[in-house]
């Protein structure tokens, strides 16, 4: 009989492993969409509209007769791409911002004030306003979401940087006269990898949800790009007679966001417990 704490850690990791597997499956499906979903997602067939799940159409058809399963699999490409690029962009920008703010005392207050100001706006509202300014396109949605989530990452990275900065070896290296940029790159940054990795995962999840919300409102990507949010928006008015049009894209969103969060949580538990407190 294994010891309880060890068993618990194992169990936790099992769920994390499952989440990682699900995520991998989703990514594989998205990448290989033409092979996994042979029916053309844009193939409208008015006679087949709003049919329930069947052998021919695994998840049913939408309001224009398009195969829902196929649309979801192909739509995964867009939803994942947008959210993934957002996570990457926000993490890079936020890390830079947080690193500078945490390490250079004089820049800390002004930078954090800007971060505070940006976080005073509700995420969705800021995203809507930004997309409205920039124009509705895939790239602009990514850019807007990057701006929305950068402050969040910046705060976390700054907090971790403050912790690392106080660690003795950083003082020692500074005393040796090493150039600041080298200190940041070689000594501080590697210690921030674990909170940064955790943030990537969570921002990815938030971005999936945010993009879906934007698309649902019709202020996100142009409606001809089939993301999961636009699918739900399109099926909204038929919800009472063909609920699957709303249900299945939503489940796709939930599954992806949940797996990402479980993964982020698992990574956070596994890696450096010292900086876990700051993150």
């Amino acid at each position: 009989m294994k010891l309880p704490p060890v068993l618990r850690a194992l169990l936790h990791r099992r769920i994390v492993m499952l989440a990682a597997l699900v995520l991998a499956a989703i990514v594989v499906l998205a990448l290989g969409a033409p092979w996994f979903a042979s029916i053309d997602p844009n193939d409208t067939a008015v006679l087949q509209r709003l049919k329930g799940p069947s052998a021919e159409h695994l998840l049913g058809t939408d309001e224009l007769g398009r195969d829902l399963y196929s649309r979801i699999v192909h739509g995964a490409r867009y939803s994942l791409a947008i959210a993934g690029l957002t996570a990457l962009g926000a993490t890079l920008a936020g890390t830079l911002l947080g690193l500078v703010a945490g390490f250079f005392r004089r820049l800390d207050a002004p930078l954090m004030r800007i971060v505070d100001a940006m976080m005073s706006f509700p995420d969705i509202l800021l995203a809507i306003a930004l997309v409205a300014i920039l124009g509705a396109s895939l790239a602009n949605v990514v850019f807007a979401l990057v701006l929305v989530y950068t402050p969040r990452v910046a705060r976390v990275v700054r907090a971790s940087t403050l912790v690392v900065r106080e660690l003795l070896f950083v003082e020692a290296v500074r005393a040796l006269g090493v150039r600041t940029s080298r200190i940041l790159w070689r000594h501080v940054l590697p210690n921030l990898l674990s909170p940064i990795l955790v943030q990537v995962s969570f921002i990815f999840a938030y971005a999936i949800l945010a993009e879906a919300g934007l698309s649902f409102l019709g202020v996100g990507v142009p409606p001809d790009i089939p993301t999961w949010g636009t699918m739900v928006a399109g099926g909204q008015q038929y919800a009472d007679r063909a609920f699957w049009v709303v249900l299945f894209p939503g489940l796709a969103i939930i599954l992806t966001a949940l797996s990402l969060q479980l993964l982020g949580d698992g990574v956070r538990d596994l890696l450096d417990p010292k900086l876990k407190k700051a993150a």
């Binding site: 010891l3 309880p4 704490p5 060890v6």
Partner: protein, 340 residues
């Protein structure tokens, strides 16, 4: 000789960790006589705090401690109960009542959102059934008992308004509020200034004289032990290595570890016959990792008097007469007493 207030027999506490089972306390036995003070002495990690928390059953549930042994406590009603086997509800009746404890950190041991009076009164209302007004009055009396000036005002103050020394006095008042017969004091003065230390210790001595309570005093400070303890149990790596009344222990320590501890005292260096001591003594080496204990005696790697058979097995606690015992193969056993 009265029956002891507390009689601990073969107490062991182990914690499962990622690296294996850690035996923080192993085979610890000692007695505390009514009205007397027993000091549990040892360095950090020797297991003395864990011993006290085990006796009070205050170990964190998440720690998954394995506890064995007995701790026979003589209650005021004349019964003898095993603290380690009591149902939790009965243990709660003893805690804060006949069995009280004060901790090392007075700065963080009081709840910041309640007044000190309320915190004392809560205990009184629980164990003595007084109503709120009577309990607060009693709380005020307790503050006066521990020599806090302007007690009537202090009763309504919050912990952050009091200094560290005063907070520790409040902790003592809290512990004394329901007339304990045994007070466990876990390094109560370590976090305080030296002058305050002396005051607190004198206060505890006075309270003991007035109430006849026993004290289990946990400390690493030999000076405090010399002045305030009646009996001493020295701990090393989770085990008791020497037991003796205080004066004989200081006069003639029997275990090499105790000898080493006493030799570290600056005063002792001078007494060793040198006109001007050139060097302070320190026991060489470090305590072994609890996950990799030496095969025999735990102190053997650091002991200058070690023999071959010290590595063979853990020596038992050997009675050496006059109420003393030591866990060492070098001592001469007395044949007319049993060491437990």
């Amino acid at each position: 000789m009265d029956a002891p207030r507390l009689s601990v027999r073969h107490l062991s506490t182990s914690f499962p960790t990622d690296g294996g089972l850690v035996h923080s306390v192993a085979d610890v036995s000692f007695d505390i006589a009514p009205g007397r003070t027993t000091a549990l002495v040892g360095e950090s990690g020797s297991g003395k705090s864990v011993t006290s928390l085990t006796l009070m059953r205050l170990l964190a549930r998440s720690a998954n401690a394995r506890v064995s042994g007995q701790a026979h406590f003589a209650t005021r009603e004349g019964r003898s109960v095993d603290l380690l086997a009591l149902p939790e509800a009965e243990m709660r009746r003893l805690r804060g009542h006949q069995l009280a404890m004060i901790f090392q950190e007075p700065m963080t041991s009081l709840n910041p959102v309640f007044t000190v009076g309320e915190q004392i009164a809560e205990s009184v209302r629980l164990h003595k059934g007084l109503d709120r007004a009577a309990a607060l009055a009693h709380a005020q009396r307790m503050l006066e008992l521990v020599e806090i000036p302007a007690a009537a005002r202090r009763v309504h103050e919050y912990p952050h308004q009091l200094s560290g020394g005063m907070r520790q006095r409040v902790m003592i008042a809290l512990a004394m509020a329901c007339d304990p017969t045994l007070l466990i004091a876990d390094e109560p003065t370590t976090a305080l200034d030296v002058t305050i230390q002396a005051q607190i210790l004198a206060l505890m001595r006075r309270l003991q004289a007035e109430t006849g309570m026993s004290i289990l005093f946990i400390t690493h400070n030999l000076g405090v032990v010399a002045h305030h303890a009646d009996d001493v149990a020295v701990m090393y790596a989770g085990r008791v290595v020497e037991r003796a009344p205080v004066r004989p222990l200081f006069a003639a320590p029997q275990h090499p570890y105790t000898q080493g501890l006493l030799a570290c005292l600056p005063g002792k260096a001078r007494a060793a016959g040198q006109a001007r001591p050139k060097r302070l003594f320190a026991i060489r080496g470090q305590v072994s990792s609890p996950l990799a204990p030496p095969p025999g005696c735990a102190f053997e790697p650091r002991c200058d008097q070690a023999r071959d058979d010290c590595r063979a097995a853990m020596p038992p606690l050997i009675a050496t007469g006059d109420g003393r015992s030591a866990r060492c193969v070098l001592v001469a056993p007395s044949h007319d007493q049993e060491a437990t």
